[in-house]
Amino acid sequence: MARVIVYRILGSIAAVFGASLLAFLIMRALPGDPARVILGPLASPKALVEVRHELGLDKSLFVQYWDYITSFLSGNWGYSYTLNAPVKSLFVERFPATIELALFSFIFTMATAIALALLSTYRRRPVTDGVVRGASYLGFGTPPFFLGVLLLIIFFKSLHWLPGPEGRLGIGAEAPPSATGLYPIDALLAGDLSTFWESIRHLILPSIALGVASFSFIVRLLRANLLEVSREPFLIVARGKGLARWTAFRRHALPNAFLPTLTTAGLVLGEFLAGSVLVERVFDWPGIGSLVYEAIVKQDFAIVQAFVLFSALMFVAVNLIVDLLYAAIDPRVRIPAVTAT
């Protein structure tokens, strides 16, 4: 068991190493001249040489890679020329907005996904099941950014039910005193119910758009797991003990069906990271995603590079944590079988 954990951790470190090398090759070594990219086509040769030196481009590739990885790990994520600020401080500043949206979206979409998966499997009515399966296919096929546009047209432009693309609160509205950085929670802590309500209203549409892909594969996976588990003999045994239908389902089908969905946490995180770049700009949400989008438009590649490496690091870390968590929860992995006594 301990050996498995050590191997898994070593594997993750190797993957991060490989990923950083890949990112370095793609974004630093191959693109030709980053200095030219940073300064634009009209830059003077002298300025180019200076920037090249500043970036260490005149050193060998090995040294460059070493500088690249050590400076990232030591918190030096580069400097944004368009925003005139260190990339890391920009990330820190934008982080709460992204986390707020991702968290809210996660809770919202997971709750819906779980409810729908239960609805389609518990009673097994073909009609409900068909609708839920259809919804999950549509969810997979719907690009999150297009869903954002669509939701704005329907709920903002036509029905006027929810606010438009104006970020986390209405224009001119004052942010609640910062405690956690998450507006709904800060507003609650400050006892400011109207700000709380406003921030929730602003969260609804972007949350749906951001969560749609995760929603669709969680529904699909959970539905398949539930169907499979509900055919297991131990469920019949539980019913044979005299347990009510729902009790047997809740105690024995749900835990067994939920356990494998843990492994999709990495996928979900990937969707949220990439999705933030696609969705935040639709709603003018001031998070890391729109920071990266602006950086792409303005060709401010330090920000994009940091985001790419940051994403890989998070992605590998979450997959590692999920694996270890899975081992800690599932008794079949946690406690090896002892045959015969």
């Binding site: 019949i236 045994v237 019913r239 003990k241 005299g242 009510a244 067994n256 599932d330 079949r332 406690i335």
Partner: protein, 341 residues
């Protein structure tokens, strides 16, 4: 025993039918089956897979899931028809009055719950006031009852830490926990190796004797039937084609199908004579049963006789030297006479 049916049986099944409806095809898994079970009787039900044995077991417990349903008949237990009870009322019967043991011990226990929890679950389902400590004590006693050593310690183990035979002991412990009147064992020894099979059988033998429990023992192993059961019902395409005492089947099977089944049982004498005979052909599709005798196409007696294809045989009650026999064959009487002379 209290509360028997009027005719002195503990369980009386009358014209039970179960169908599975998928699309426009209706599969009749159990067709018009009737039998009585005496309070200490051990009834063996034998037949090929797909002959409706398991469907009948689940029908008695009211655990047939859609698209299947019990389409007719009565199941009398203690003078009342339990087939008309609601699922909630039936919950009080399952586990308490009729208990179930399934075939494969590796899938009959929930892999992520401890053995103890799963045993206590059956106690708690019927005795809501049961205290934690008392429940645990009874679970330990039950494990000791089924010869599991270090019961106290092994209560907190998970199913994968038990061997197959031990898991089946646990399943039996859960089934007899509340002294049920009837124990339905659906192929309880099939998935086990021969030595373990013998142990499980002798354990069941002892427990059933001690608790005075009637048993419906479903199997396709005629050897086990001869060891364990008092009476036998041979099931074919959802019907009981022959019911008799256990000696009769082995000495003078009346129905051609029973005879064919018996001929397939290997023993040293027959093996010396060359390959075992197999029953030719396949059982008919249960969704398109022929109008005549469903065994006719495979029957060595009736294969070429028009009457077997035209008319479904009725059950003939015949008094044989070894007790009364019910046989569903046009030639039952002639064959019974032929066998006895």
């Amino acid at each position: 025993m209290d509360a028997l049916n009027d005719n002195g049986s503990v369980l009386s099944v009358r014209n039970l039918s179960t169908v599975f409806e998928t699309g426009n095809a209706a599969t009749c898994a159990v067709r018009d089956v009737s039998f009585d079970l005496r309070p200490d009787e051990r009834l063996g039900i034998v037949g090929e897979s797909g002959s409706g044995k398991s469907a009948m077991a689940l029908s008695i417990l009211g655990l047939i899931e859609p698209p299947g349903r019990v389409s007719g008949g009565e199941i009398l237990l203690g003078g009342r028809d339990i087939s008309k009870l609601s699922d909630r009322q039936m919950g009080a019967v399952r586990g308490k009055e009729i208990a179930l043991v399934l075939q494969d011990p590796s899938t009959a226990l929930d892999p992520v719950k401890t053995i103890g929890r799963q045993i206590i679950e059956v106690l708690a389902a019927h005795e809501p006031d049961l205290k934690r400590k008392a429940a645990r004590k009874r679970a330990v006693e039950l494990l000791e009852d089924v010869d599991i050593s270090h019961a106290e310690r092994r209560l907190d183990d998970y199913p994968h830490q038990y061997s197959g035979g031990m898991r089946q002991r646990v399943a039996i412990a859960m089934a007899i926990a509340l002294n049920p009147k009837v124990l339905i064992a659906d192929e309880p020894t099939t998935a086990l190796d021969v030595t373990t099979q013998a142990q499980i059988l002798s354990l069941m033998d002892r427990l059933v004797e001690d608790h005075n429990t009637a048993v419906i023992f479903i199997t396709h192993n005629l050897g086990v039937v001869s060891e364990f059961c008092d009476s036998v019902a041979v099931m074919y395409t959802g019907r009981f084609v022959e019911t008799s005492g256990v000696e009769h089947i082995f000495s003078a099977p009346t129905h051609p199908y029973s005879e064919a089944l018996l001929n397939c049982v290997p023993n040293p004498e027959k093996l010396a004579q060359g390959p075992l005979p197999a029953i030719t052909g396949f059982p008919p599709d249960l969704s398109q049963l022929p109008s005549g005798c469903s065994f006719a196409p495979r029957c060595p007696v009736g294969k070429d006789l028009a009457q077997c294809y035209e008319k479904a045989p009725v059950t003939h009650r015949i008094s044989c030297p070894d007790g009364e026999v019910g046989v569903e064959c046009h030639f039952a009487e002639a064959r019974a006479r032929g066998a006895s002379t």
